[in-house]
């Protein structure tokens, strides 16, 4: 059976599964819509959180990035997992005890201020839209490559599916669909990795194969071979980096703190019944995420060796283009691989110096990996379904944040406090539907700066939400003036720095011009520090938080009687 037919079948089966679950788990009340009725088992919640968090970027792009960055790729691995430790230890249990639906709810109540609530709502909506546009694009890419429909059609199909189960099922439908999506995506990620690990090193676990001796009888370990190849071809040694140490430090910290501050991740901890379940959920989520995140660097190094050997040949003299395997020609059609025969010898050659004749896009590494390793067609179809699952699950979670921010935080809590539960649910669905249409439009006509804006979203979350929530829990006297001043200073500084280097003066975006050698990707860390300092200074100069707020903070510190996530 051909790849295309196979892909249609596999993707079709998974879609039918998601829709079936959505029908089974329809939401009847706002509470079911927003937080799944607060009754989800921690393991299921962990899986759903993992699927929610692992986006098309984690599934499709991350291993490719690491493959080209070597050691420096650790910023993503550490950043996107380490944030869960912060979340589990410093945020999740307390926010669960607080027991409202959203992050702006917490900020608004804790800092007794509509201004603070509104600032938080705007940040949440902005961060979520940025993300969701990227996801829709991911769906489009997978569809266009494997099903050969055009990107617009792919995005529309993706929109229709997400629309169906998120608008109908709300958090309840989304949670159970995400559990299924996690299973699909992790299986799709592991199968090719295990196959390739066995072929190359004889180890079943890619995590071990990654450091093992190659099975080709040379007695050389995979990473030594990769270091050797990299140096020979004029790249940097694979196991050491090119970025400055302080920059790596700051990027990692910004991604960690950004993760802990992302509204669609935090809201997950409102869906479990008790504080202890919120603690446990974060552990399960990270375990499920770690399965993919420890496999990714292994895939990265396998793929790099395979790719170099296919293009350059085992003797490193180049492979005749006429004999190039099918995947090179397939991906050439999409423009993601290019070959220019500079020395007119009819052979391809890939290197980091002037001998290079190839342009290989980083995003294809995971999708092309099974083809590079010559695995059967059903594995390739599975990878396509996995990529779609990753993109859909994340989009659904983000759309829910957008719709609750609008219907709950903005309408119910600000503009129209007298609407009934039914009306609020209607507005939530309307907002989700509008959100999908805007996101789909952005997916079809992506603004040229999607990738840059994602870095922006992390920086914003790191420099705004995170310090405000931490101070809100651990410093009970912190006042609204302090928190608002801190958030504005943190966001303002971070946004100005990123906008300057990414949009106003991109030519100046080199390490010599950076503040302390910190790139725009890592500047959220400095913004966060500024937020803490300004918040503390302004708090010291003004009154502390009123008595009843301090009592409320005292109360969220103790788990007993978490109660249901309350409606207002």
């Amino acid at each position: 059976m051909g790849i295309q037919t196979m892909t249609f079948i596999v993707v079709g089966i998974t879609f039918a599964l998601y829709i079936g679950i959505a029908l089974w788990a329809r939401a009847g009340s706002t509470k079911e819509f927003y937080v799944a009725g607060g009754g989800v088992h921690p393991v299921a919640n962990g899986m759903a959180t993992a699927a929610d968090w692992m986006s098309a970027a984690s599934f499709i792009s991350m291993a490719g990035l690491i493959s080209f960055m070597g050691y420096d790729g650790a910023v993503y691995l550490l950043g996107w997992t380490g944030g869960y430790v912060l979340l589990a230890l410093c945020l999740a249990p307390y926010l669960r005890k607080f027991g409202k639906f959203t992050v702006p709810d917490f900020i608004g109540d804790r800092y007794y201020s509509q201004t603070a609530r509104t600032v938080a709502v705007i940040c949440a909506i902005f961060i979520s839209f940025t993300y969701v546009a990227g996801q829709m694009r991911g769906v489009g890419v997978v569809f266009s490559r494997f099903l050969e429909v055009d990107i617009t059609m792919g995005v529309i199909i993706g929109m229709a599916i997400v629309f169906f189960y998120s608008v109908l099922g709300g958090m309840k439908g989304i949670t159970y669909t995400q559990v299924a999506q996690y299973c699909v995506l992790i299986f799709a990620y592991l199968v090719p990795a295990v196959f390739i690990s066995i072929i190359m090193t004889g180890h079943v676990f890619p995590q071990l194969g990654f450091g093992a001796t190659l099975a080709d009888g040379s007695g050389v370990s995979l990473l030594d071979k990769l270091d050797g190849l990299s140096t020979e071809l004029g790249f940097n040694e694979y196991t050491s980096g090119t970025k400055g140490m302080f920059d790596v430090f700051c990027i990692t910290a910004a991604l960690m703190v950004g993760t802990a501050g992302l509204p669609h991740v935090i809201v997950r901890f409102f869906t479990v019944p008790k504080v202890r379940d919120a603690r446990k959920s974060a552990g399960w989520a990270l375990l499920f995420i770690a399965i993919l995140y420890t496999t990714a660097p292994a895939i990265a190094s396998f793929a790099r060796v395979n790719m170099i050997e296919t293009i350059n040949g085992s003797e490193q003299t180049g492979t005749e283009y006429a004999q190039a395997p099918g995947w090179i020609k397939n991906w050439e059609k999409t423009g993601l691989i290019e070959w220019e025969d500079k020395n007119n010898d009819g052979k391809m050659f890939y290197s980091g110096d002037e001998r290079n004749e190839m342009k290989v896009d980083r995003d294809i590494m995971v999708l092309a990996n099974p083809e590079i390793a010559d695995l059967p067609n059903w594995v390739i179809a599975l990878v396509a379904a996995g990529g779609v699952a990753a993109a859909l699950s994340t989009s659904a979670g983000l759309l829910l944040v957008i719709s609750t921010s609008i219907s709950h935080d903005l309408l119910k809590r600000n503009i129209m406090p007298n609407i009934t539960d039914r009306q609020e649910l209607f507005y939530a669905r309307l907002a989700a539907a509008t959100g999908i249409i805007i996101a789909g439009y952005l997916g079809i006509n992506p603004p040229g700066f999607v990738a840059q804006v994602v870095a922006f979203a992390f920086g914003l979350a790191a420099s705004s939400f995170f310090p405000a929530i931490i101070l809100g829990i651990f410093h009970k006297r912190m006042s609204s003036k302090g928190a608002i001043a801190g958030m504005l200073a943190g966001i303002g500084f971070t946004a100005a720095y990123i906008v300057y280097f990414k949009f106003v003066n991109p030519a100046a975006n080199v390490s010599e011009n950076w503040l302390f050698g910190v790139s725009p990707e890592g500047i959220g860390t400095i913004g966060m520090a500024i937020n803490f300092v300004v918040a503390y200074a302004v708090y010291k100069l003004n009154d502390e938080a009123p008595r009843e707020i301090q009592d409320m903070v005292e109360d969220i510190r103790y788990p007993k009687g978490a109660g249901d996530a309350q409606a207002h």
């Binding site: 690491i66 050691y71 790729g73 650790a74 691995l77 550490l78 997992t81 380490g82 869960y84 430790v85 912060l86 589990a88 230890l89 410093c90 249990p93 995590q207 071990l208 990654f210 450091g211 093992a212 001796t213 370990s221 995979l222 990473l223 030594d224 196991t239 050491s240 140490m245 790596v248 430090f249 990692t252 910290a253 008790k274 504080v275 202890r276 603690r279 446990k280 974060a282 552990g283 990270l286 375990l287 770690a290 995140y293 420890t294 660097p297 651990f474 510190r557 103790y558 788990p559 007993k560 009687g561 978490a562």
Partner: protein
């Protein structure tokens, strides 16, 4: 209030904070410490075909992260019980 006294309450919060800080110290050491700041030193040490610093940055720290959260869950539940504020 489930606590016997204000002192009990303060003591509960202190044990909570001290556990959190200890675990965060480990979190910092394995990721920022071993994976980034000390990576060049640790890379001199081989571990089953990996350089140790590189292994911490791309594998080891993540395993420790998962462990940390489960240790936290276990210890927090014990503390909750000790102070009688556990849920059921």
């Amino acid at each position: 209030m489930a606590f016997q006294s204000e002192q009990q309450k303060a003591a509960y919060w202190r044990s909570n904070i001290s556990l959190m800080l200890k675990l965060l110290a480990v979190w910092f050491i394995v990721s920022f410490g071993f994976g980034i700041l000390l990576v060049d030193v640790l890379n001199q040490i081989p571990l089953f075909g990996f350089k140790l610093g590189f292994w911490f940055a791309q594998q080891g720290a993540i395993y420790v992260f998962v462990l940390l959260i489960f240790v936290y869950v276990k210890k927090m539940n014990d503390i909750d019980k000790e102070f009688g504020v556990d849920e059921e």
